[in-house]
């Protein structure tokens, strides 16, 4: 039953929401969708709680068993508990809580994102080699787009920004549509498998 109950819940909910969205049930249907929206919001909150519990279990295990790099796990745990306590006492919009977010969390977030610029550059330098035709097409497109996206491009090669626009609008658009179609069909297939109970890995049963 532990394995079957989640499958039944998912199937019933999915069929119910689909029925309410695809067919006109008048005021009852509209009210049902509104209610479902509230339930989604409540479920999100539970997901956060589950996330916190999993996070704690994982890192507590790392620390207690002194696994490699356990110090980072200890720092993560202390940060989480401290933030939780401070936010609980000071409030979500409290001075200390906001200070922590703005000056620690946000700054770290920005710094990590900024590092991407360096990684992209080193990755391009190391691996972007003109080895064959496909790599050549990719390389030329990348060079044109890099020049097109900065004013220096037009200064060196006037009109390159128009070529860049064409690459974005035509070949890029065609490729992206193919990818989106494929991803969309894949998502439908995966959803149907989950709803019908054919895909059960999410229940933790492993098959």
């Amino acid at each position: 039953m532990r394995r079957q109950l989640p499958l039944i819940l998912v199937a019933v909910t999915a069929f119910f929401v689909m029925a309410m969205k695809f067919f006109n049930f008048g005021e009852f249907g509209a009210a049902a969708i509104r209610e479902a929206d509230i339930w989604i919001q409540v479920t999100y909150e539970f997901a956060f709680l589950l996330g916190a519990i999993n996070f704690t279990r994982l890192h507590l295990g790392n620390v207690s068993r002194k696994r490699p790099k356990w110090v980072y796990s200890a720092i993560a745990l202390v940060a989480m508990v401290l933030t939780f306590i401070i936010t609980l006492i000071d409030g979500v919009n409290g001075d200390i809580a906001v200070f922590l977010y703005e000056n620690i969390a946000n700054r770290i977030d920005s710094a990590i994102y900024a590092l991407l610029g360096f990684y992209v550059c080193s990755a391009a330098y190391r691996s972007f080699k003109l080895k064959n035709l496909e790599a050549g097409i990719l390389l030329v497109s990348a060079v044109v787009l890099m020049l097109a996206q900065a004013p220096i491009g037009d200064a060196i090669l006037p009109g390159i920004s128009k070529v860049g626009e064409w690459i974005l609008n035509v070949p890029n658009s065609a490729g992206m549509r193919g990818i989106r179609l494929g991803a969309g069909i894949g998502a439908y297939a995966a959803s149907i498998r989950v709803i019908l109970g054919l895909e059960r890995s999410w229940t933790g049963s492993g098959s």
Binding site: Q41, R126, A150
Partner: protein
């Protein structure tokens, strides 16, 4: 010459050069002109075509990662909107702290400069959990969607602008969204812009362009500001250079550095390959 070395330059040297190339133009700008793209022109024009005093809904759905390229868009929008005496009502659905704070800071800076008052000319409603559900409610009842308070918890009763803005359906003329993904243009389109037939415009990181260009072509998205370049073009149109244009020189130098290293790496690769094939 040892061409092998050209392919394996110490990565620390590469990082140091990139860093320098990006920092120096910030202190000593090159001031290169930026050509305005058709998409940016469309964004500017759709706002310019609004009657004076219109209400613009602005959602700064960003986190700290993309903020540097999206913030200048908010500044330029505020400048164009306030110049036309338009009102701004803001939300931020992506990040609980980053979006609302940045939205406030960047609009407030322009508002103070142009003599506009919080609560009268603009309001920041801040972040609400579950954007999709919130948007659906705000279509007919903005006050209910945000629980009757602005981002700082102040009752909307205190703001004359919010007496005028009760629902997006009846009281908002245009929606301007900066996004990093979810919620994105798809959500704003499905729940707000399309059902209400409101113009939707805005900007995002250029990497998102391929995901939104079909909306631009269909006319559902009125133009698009693509990354820092889009922001710089928009600043140029509102005739007030800011962080976008300042960042363009750094971006130019950064891109040129990458290209130079790409060239060096490929020269090394071909020379080594040629030498090997001769042997």
């Amino acid at each position: 010459m040892d061409w092998e070395k050209l392919q394996h330059i110490d990565i620390r040297i590469l990082y140091a050069i990139i860093l320098l190339c990006m920092i120096i133009p910030m202190f000593k700008p090159l001031g290169m002109p930026v050509a305005v793209s058709e998409n940016t022109q469309k964004v500017y024009q759709v706002i310019e075509d609004l009657p004076d005093g219109s209400v613009i809904w602005v959602s700064h759905d960003t986190g700290s990662g993309n903020a540097p390229e999206l913030n200048p868009m908010i500044t330029a929008l505020a400048r164009q909107a306030f110049r036309k005496n338009c009102k701004l009502v803001g939300t931020a659905f992506f990040s609980e702290t980053v979006g609302p704070t940045l939205l406030y800071d960047y609009i407030n800076e322009v508002a103070e400069e142009m003599g506009k008052e919080y609560g009268v000319d603009w309001v920041n409603l801040g972040y609400r959990l579950n954007a999709e559900a919130c948007m659906k409610v705000m279509v007919d009842d903005v006050w209910a969607g945000v629980g009757g308070v602005d981002w700082s918890g102040t009752s909307l009763e205190n703001f004359p602008l919010m007496q005028q803005v009760r629902s997006i359906r009846n009281d908002v003329d245009l929606i301007f969204v900066t996004t990093v993904g979810t919620p994105g243009y798809g959500d704003w389109m499905a729940y707000v812009a399309q059902p209400l037939n409101k113009p939707l415009t805005g900007g995002a990181s250029l990497t998102m362009y391929s995901g939104v260009q079909h909306y631009i072509r269909s006319g559902q998205l009125k133009g698009f500001l693509g990354g820092l370049r889009g922001a710089a073009e928009y600043e140029q149109l509102v005739e007030h250079p800011g962080q976008g244009l300042a960042g363009m020189d750094a971006q130019s130098m950064g891109h040129i550095t990458v290209l130079v290293f790409l060239l060096l790496g490929n020269i090394g690769y071909f020379m080594v390959r040629g030498k090997n094939s001769r042997q």
